[in-house]
Symmetry: C2
Subunit: 469 residues, 2 copies
């Protein structure tokens, strides 16, 4: 028995014995199972990731490469047979990395592997040079006196905790902006952080940082974990003088955009799925977020190939400029604010290329039985039922805050932050079998929710409390 | 029972039941067992590696950093209490990497991660630009016609096989010089190779290459494995134009040197152990060859702390400029050519930081019983008896070729070529427990061989046939 047959057998066994509060219509459910089976028949999701990462490569927000990615996306949608393919333009501040270099000047001259954080100001051509002051955590820097760091280079060495659900990220990422702002308040020359990441390779992790408006802007960069260790060891022996040269700059507003396609439904309601098209400049954006593009486009393609119009329109969005502050998602929310009520539910795939292990929702309590019925179809894929505080993924944030129901097909993120925002985020890191499982789950979920009757939206807008997924 | 006691118990049990052709004198054997036990008491080997990689970092042959490493080495020897500490200078051609860059120009513009191979000529400031022609193996390039590659960039995509004994290296490394020389013979603009390495991270592997005298010198660089994959994928779609800019150059002769220290014996015979002090410029040279420095110096230090002079002098050498053609080893062999007969046996640790799993020798047949007796003491450390075709390690080559007996305490090299000659060769990759096992084996071997009576040298010089370890 092959994998596909095995999973279909499990599905049928599971469904035969389950009791539903609100089971999907039998035809719809059979079609969902057929979608799962067909996802195991061919690997279109992986092929899409391969195409994007090879033919475009890195595609930073606002860059010429991101424009090529939009053309790639529109062409791919058309080639696959989607309807209403379009690019919806907006503008984004473009920040460019030209070169960057850090070295211990004394007492142990040597280079350190660093990368500027997105949005950082550069140094002068000569760079900055000063003694390093280390803080074990961002909180320790926040607790430091307002004087004593003038002319110093601040180093926040806080590590990140590895978790399956990515919950270590929110804690660790605070230093990405926090180090520079706290350093700026204290007259420091520059700020360095231990990379926001969980690997131990010599890849620094980039990522966007934001200056507080009233604070002096100091250049800021991330050290790879081995280099943070090295700097810590040097500091444990005595004072360390470091020089830092960041040739980076913001170049003003540039074109960006979202790429949209649809499978038209028989009603005017919309099921929104997507991922983000832009990547950081260092890698080829395979796990972040080529994977999400491949998963969501492939899932919709499987549905398209059913050649049965869904009740609700399935809209697939490749969001632009996610990495620099959800700029594409905000543009989408603004553009579609008048049709927000038509958006029945949304979900984004943006957590790498691990298998999905949990189905989280954020819907009206009255819709939870429907969600549990959908979960019964997903369960044989190894997916547990989660809670009702899903975020839906970063690009769903602006719409979620406006009351759109969301779900998250939550991936195993154990290894995600090993690669996140590094040069090492390349195609070879993706296991095609994981992509297949993701495509199966997205296809089944989207098909079921696009054909169900119930309203997922609460009578009153669902409170946007703390997301606990 | 702790690890040390457990191993000593195993040792005693093993020795009690063994039958020897030529057992070491009981006192000497007990002292060897004590050395093994003491290696598990404290981790001086790891501390030495930590000190070198932190306080010096990368230390390329002929660089100012290598000079600092020599001062570090002499100071470390003196601090540990060795005798006859000295630096023996020689000169080496110094080659410097300033910057390097490769990008696909068309049809899919993107940067590729590369690094120049040591000794390569640079390109002009504008770089070179041409279509890429891929060869799956070096042999395929060698088999190519002498015309047809003019103005092209040759790409030799041959992968390396992962093995425990490193035997994949000799095959794969041929392309490091071969690609450039075969490209040069055919009028190509430049040569690229898939890195000589076994990892799948975005670290290109450097390493020395040598131009054939009569061949046009073309610039040559290595792609990381993910970038070699990427270039292959792009080529599978059609022609690929690439630009390459290598700002590298040879800067003439510079000072280098070997650092020596001794534990004086009661005879004029010498047991030679060592490792190489220089590293490539990209990483901090932790596994290549900080590990060897730590292992051999720590083993000798344990013997020093016995406070019992060995019969034969134990000489520890930190060889300079190994990476660029065994320059320090050749200088040593030249300097000591008149006392070669006093060199009873030699061994170098230069295969990373894995555990030792086999004891290989290259001695007179008449000395094999003595070697088997020594092996009985090493066996409880998980070390098997190997054959009699050892190389002794790279820096033993020039002396071995002159007839010096050698042994190899062969390490597990399964992971060695993941890190070899990359920026990722840093301290965090070393497991201190492996270093302890290495130190134990070296200390026991050196102590036993320094106190035995027999001659390891054959009556006629041992033929330097194919090394099969």
């Amino acid at each position: 028995m092959n994998t596909a047959s095995h999973i279909v057998a499990l599905l049928l066994a599971s469904i035969a014995t389950a009791t539903y509060a609100a089971p999907p219509a039998p035809d719809t459910r059979d079609q969902a199972i057929a979608l799962i089976a067909s996802s195991y028949e061919y690997n279109i999701g992986y092929q899409i990731i391969e195409s994007l990462t090879t033919e475009v490569g890195a595609r930073q927000a606002g860059s010429e490469a991101e424009a090529r990615a939009r053309r790639w996306g529109a062409a791919k949608f058309r080639q696959l047979g989607f309807s209403n393919v379009r690019i919806e333009p907006f503008e984004v501040e473009f920040w460019e990395r030209a070169s960057e270099r850090a070295e211990i000047v004394a007492p142990y001259p040597q280079n350190l592997a660093i990368t500027s954080l997105g949005g950082s100001v550069g140094t002068s051509d000569d760079g900055v040079r000063g003694d390093v002051v280390r803080f074990a955590t961002l909180q320790a820097l926040k607790d430091a006196p307002r004087t004593g760091l003038e002319g110093k280079i601040v180093f926040v060495d806080e590590p990140m905790t590895r978790t399956q659900d990515g919950s270590g990220y929110g804690v660790a990422v605070a230093k990405r902006s926090g180090a520079a702002n706290e350093a700026g308040k204290r007259g420091a020359l520059a700020a360095l952080i231990r990379s926001v990441g969980t690997d131990h390779h010599r890849f620094p992790h980039t990522g966007q940082m934001y200056y507080q408006p009233e604070v002096a802007k100091v250049p800021t960069a991330a050290l790879s974990a081995p280099d943070a260790d090295q700097l810590q060891r040097a500091l444990s022996r005595g004072p360390v003088e470091l020089s830092l040269r960041l040739n980076v700059q913001s170049l003003g507003m540039r074109p960006s955009g979202n790429v949209l396609a649809e499978i038209p439904g028989t009603s005017d309601e919309i099921v929104l799925i997507g991922a983000h098209l832009d990547s950081w400049d260092l890698g080829t954006g395979a796990v972040d977020d080529g994977a999400g593009i491949g998963i969501t486009v492939a899932a919709a393609k499987l549905i398209l190939d059913l050649k049965t119009p869904p009740k609700r329109t399935i809209r697939v969005v490749m969001f632009g400029s996610e990495e620099v502050g959800l700029v594409g998602a905000k543009a989408y929310a603004k553009k579609y604010q008048d049709s927000l009520d038509q958006h029945i539910v949304g979900t984004e795939s943006d957590f790498g290329a691990g298998k999905i292990w949990r189905f989280d929702t954020r819907v009206a309590d009255s819709a939870l039985d429907d969600m549990r019925a959908i979960h019964k179809v997903l369960q044989p894929l190894g997916i547990a039922m989660g809670g009702n505080q899903a975020t839906g993924g970063p690009d769903m944030g602006p719409l979620r805050e406006l009351g759109m129901p969301v779900v998250t097909l939550k991936q195993n993120g154990w290894d995600y932050f090993d690669l996140h925002h590094t040069a090492d985020d390349t195609l070879d890191k993706i296991n095609p079998a994981n992509i297949t499982q993701n495509v199966a789950a997205y296809a089944a979920f989207v098909w079921l929710v696009a054909n169900m009757d119930g309203d997922l939206r609460a009578a009153a807008p669902h409170a946007d409390g703390k997301a606990t997924e």
